[in-house]
Symmetry: C2
Subunit: 205 residues, 2 copies
């Protein structure tokens, strides 16, 4: 495996867990909250600043850049946009280091020009996502559905704001799976097989 | 294989070809234009009536049903809606006969209640879709891009009109693939593997 795999996932789909198992199976680094820590250390910001960056304005990043200027680097931008741009740099630099699995943070968009990247999206039926949220995130069943919808709206808005693309649209990814149909371990297997085949196919071209 | 596989695909993605090869590999019937012929024969309409049914009004099927009534069967409905409902019946009846591969025609939505169905969506990058349209559909390169966009807008509108869902949204499908990354034959293999694993996983539950 000599590729980078980005994983986007619906909240409660088991996607983060698939990503972590995949990285282990392929013996490559896994980036998730680690990215935030790296970003915090590199930029000198307190980690807490990075925690709620998925709160965005109703405009787009391009709007912020035009209003606040890109010539001054990230200094003139709103905090959330600064954080995004710092994270983008970090995503690019870990990707430059070699094969890895990266979850969330628009990594698919940020690395879109990179030829060695595969983009994966993981979904799951609402009832199963509710069950996972209850089991793993200690939410009551009553609250789980609202929380799932709220977080996915936030992810979708964050993605739309920074990329101008639609989160969860199949044609933006190389492989999308519903984790319910296969179970977690088989998802890891299908993604590994996909990447192995795609790498072989790339070498033929 | 004891399942039904529905395939939705972007125009020029090679999806119809994947579907046909998949049906051959699995040794099950393949339904595509065949459906139209079957529908025409069953309903007594001339086949030509079925050719442009993806032209829909700006309302939804539910609106038509409320305006024109469902108590009188399909007789009071606009022609395109009648055709859709006749096709739906045919899709349900071929699915009841056993495992098969069905392309397009909202088959995923029509068979959504069926437990033995897997839904696949196939996409491809625009430049490769243009290349395929030039090669296989005899379009000039200049016209191919417009034609691709026009047909996919039509498919999306048709799907939205009859299902109320978004065509091409990853979470509406069990498996989505970009055909460029794997090539046609590997897509057939990944879909077959997915179905075999999902069937085994279903038997465990």
């Amino acid at each position: 495996m000599n590729s980078i795999i980005t994983i986007s996932r619906q909240y409660g789909s088991g996607g983060r867990f698939v990503a972590e198992m995949l990285a282990k199976a392929l013996d490559v680094p896994f980036y998730d909250n680690k990215l935030i820590t790296l970003a915090a250390k590199k930029s000198g910001y307190a980690e807490s600043i990075f925690e709620n960056v998925e709160q965005t304005s109703s405009h787009s990043l391009l709007y912020s850049l035009s209003m606040f200027g890109s010539t001054a680097g990230v200094y003139g931008l709103p905090l959330s946009d600064k954080v995004f741009m710092i994270q983008s740099d970090i995503i690019k630099s870990v990707a430059a280091e070699g094969p890895c699995v990266i979850v969330g943070r628009c990594a698919d968009y940020i690395l879109n020009e990179n030829k060695n990247v595969f983009h994966v999206f993981l979904s799951s039926d609402l009832e199963n996502r509710v069950a996972r949220a209850v089991k793993y995130y200690n939410l009551s069943e009553a609250k789980a559905e609202d929380e799932i919808k709220r977080i996915d709206r936030k992810r979708s808005a964050y993605y739309g704001y920074y990329t101008g693309e639609k989160w969860g649209e199949a044609s933006n990814y190389d492989l999308c799976l519903n984790t319910d149909k296969l179970g977690i371990e088989n998802c890891v297997k299908i993604i590994s097989d996909f990447v192995a085949m795609a790498e072989a196919n790339r070498n033929i071209d």
